[in-house]
């Protein structure tokens, strides 16, 4: 029983990280109609950027803040201006292909230009664990849950409570109507790209201490992000959260009780079940795509 609860706790923590990447993915899809196949690399690049600042002598928190600023500039604004804006008019598929090309290019740049090795990454949380009602919980899991939870709650509050956040939701729901109401659609879409970049940096901060910084670390987390987003419901930000946590917990349980070798297959299986029985996602509302 104790094992089981521990698996749930650490699975929820891992799932919360998936959820952060999935959240950015969902937001991009809602507001800009972008499916970003380089989402995993958007997590990998900040990990190396933070390592770079740390190597230059900055403490972790400063490296994190600097990377956030850089990510907003490059992965947010730059990605939108250089790749999304010129391509969005051609439709979804050329843009998807371009993000695939981007993913290959970024991975290869890190491998050829820097290193193909896995690099250790400092944890933002103290090591060790503590006992809570007879169950051992690590500080890292708790810290991850608290930080990821705070970000998700904060983002929800921003989207639901502030004028800017509500305007962003309006753009996601109906771009034309939002424009008629005088909302600056372009600016709102840009905000979504910036938020996505920051979410990716936070995911990198939380996931890299266990995954290690490696050029292909984004493959796995990117895939989990897609599946989490679809399982939860592509058109619901809360869905990404549920999907991420569900994948994280089930992976842990399957890895422990069934076979660690097939942990990576859990997300696919869950995805296939969801699209067979509840295609709009667990929390999603079915929608008619525009013609």
């Amino acid at each position: 029983m104790g094992d089981f609860v521990q698996l749930i706790v650490s699975g929820t923590a891992t799932g919360a990280i998936y959820a952060l990447a999935a959240l950015g993915f969902t937001l991009l899809w809602q507001a800009a109609g972008v499916i970003n196949f380089a989402q995993g690399e958007f997590v990998m690049v900040p990990a190396f950027s933070m390592l770079f600042f740390i190597a230059a002598g900055a403490p972790l928190w400063l490296a994190f803040l600097l990377t956030c600023a850089l990510a907003m500039l490059v992965l947010g604004y730059g990605f939108k201006r250089m790749i999304v804006d010129p391509l969005i008019k051609h439709g979804v598929i050329p843009l998807v292909i371009a993000t695939l090309g981007l993913s290959i290019a970024v991975k290869s740049i890190v491998r050829a230009g820097y290193s193909a090795e896995a690099h250790p990454f400092p944890s933002p949380f103290p090591p060790g664990q503590f006992a809570l009602a007879g169950i051992n919980v690590s500080y890292a899991d708790v810290g991850t849950l608290v930080l990821a939870g705070a970000i998700v709650v904060g983002l929800q509050a921003f989207l639901n409570r502030t004028v800017t956040g509500r305007a962003m939701q309006a753009v996601a729901q109906n771009t034309e109507a939002a424009k008629v109401l005088g909302i600056n659609v372009k600016r709102m879409v840009l905000y979504v790209f910036l938020i996505n970049a920051v979410l990716a940096v936070v995911a990198a901060l939380l996931v890299t201490p266990t995954y290690l910084a490696k050029f292909d670390m984004g493959d796995s987390i990117g895939q989990k992000a897609f599946f989490a987003a679809i399982i939860g419901g592509f058109n619901q930000t809360r869905g990404a959260l549920l999907g991420g946590v569900l994948i994280g917990v089930l992976e842990n349980v399957v890895g422990f009780y069934v076979s660690p070798a097939y942990k990576e297959g859990v997300a696919l299986l869950l995805f296939l079940l969801v699209i067979l029985f509840r295609p709009e996602g667990l929390l999603g509302k079915s929608e008619e795509r525009k013609v």
Binding site: I35, I83, I97, G101, I104, K107, F227, Y262, L268, V291
Partner: protein, 325 residues
């Protein structure tokens, strides 16, 4: 009519020239050409899914691998090559149907995610089920076939055999696309809603295109196993699927010969860079994937129809595309 005859004549002449040239090539170059033919079987199939049915598949390498492992296991058990070939093709076709059905039922771009996950899963099975697949050690000593009493053991003989098989496969696909049945594919890619209103069952046709594409990859996999004579999970990773997809897109998806150009770029070019002795080219080899990735992005921005659409761009004749597709 005349243009078509001239084109097929030119193509036949090119094939004959290639076959003659191969007789004078180094052993390693013939091997590379055979490898190209083998990958082309898979990318021709993928072009059916991507170019004609307008769907993204990120799992072609998984089907390629399934075909290869079928071949490795069955050929070593002593099954004849021409029995293994249909078994592998039918298995891939059936798996394609089973995987494509749930994905295509919902939203069409879900196929991309389903195939991506499927490829990851297949890779895990190949690596972990050591009793069947040999795990990371793979399966070695795969025999090459004997066709009509002629042994395909020699590298040149096997190249001719692969090239001939590729031509047969290409002709079959060409015939399929010219048939009324195949024209429905193009119709649903160009305007799915119109196609549906004309009575084309979009989901059924897309599913079939995907499954046929998967079967082609399975066939390619069988030839791959016989060519390389040793297989392990590495070549069937998701990254190969991505390269195959990009090969089709870069060449020009929905153009019959698009995959040829794309496959040369992804298979032949990096190998030529690797084997070259010039320092500058050695440098290129390391950075090859970087250039390739950036080139794909640039291509999507400036020439979303692929390299073979460059002619249309200059002619600015919108009719040309319809004629080619």
């Amino acid at each position: 009519m005349n243009a078509t005859t001239a084109k097929s004549g030119l193509l036949a002449a090119a094939l004959v020239a290639l076959a003659v040239a191969a007789a004078f090539m180094k052993r390693s170059d013939v091997y590379l050409l055979s490898l190209c033919c083998v990958y082309l079987m898979a990318t021709f199939g993928l072009n059916l899914t991507v170019g004609y049915a307008g769907q993204m598949s990120l799992g072609q390498a998984a089907f390629f691998g399934i075909g290869a492992y079928h071949a490795a296991i069955l050929l070593k058990l002593g099954f004849p090559f021409f029995v293994v070939l249909p078994i592998a093709a039918v298995s891939c076709f059936a798996i394609g149907l089973a995987l494509g059905f749930p994905a295509l039922r919902v939203q069409h771009h879900y196929l991309a995610f389903a195939t991506l996950g499927f490829n990851v899963l297949v890779f895990l099975v190949m690596r972990n089920e050591e009793k069947v697949t040999g795990g990371t050690f793979g399966i070695s000593g795969i025999p090459r076939p004997t066709v009509l009493g002629v042994s395909m053991e020699g590298h040149l003989a096997f190249f001719y055999f692969t090239l001939a098989s590729l031509v047969v496969l290409a002709v079959l696909l060409w015939w399929l696309l010219r048939s009324p049945w195949g024209r429905a594919f193009a119709a649903l890619r160009d305007n799915p809603i119109r196609a549906e209103s004309l009575g084309v069952n979009i989901t059924a046709y897309t599913l079939l295109a995907f499954a046929i594409g998967a079967a082609c990859a399975g066939v390619g996999g069988v030839y791959y196993a016989a060519l390389v004579e040793f297989i392990e999970p590495g070549p069937f990773h998701v990254s190969t699927s991505l390269l195959m997809l990009l090969a089709v897109i870069v060449g020009g998806s929905g153009r019959f010969f698009g995959p040829v150009l794309g496959t040369i770029i992804i298979i032949l070019l990096p190998e030529l860079l690797r084997s070259s002795s010039m320092e500058a080219l050695k440098f290129m080899q390391k950075w090859y994937l970087v250039f390739f990735g950036v080139a794909v992005v640039a291509l999507m921005v400036w020439l979303p129809g692929g390299l073979l659409s460059i002619g249309d761009r200059f002619r600015k004749a919108p009719a040309a595309k319809e004629k080619n597709s």
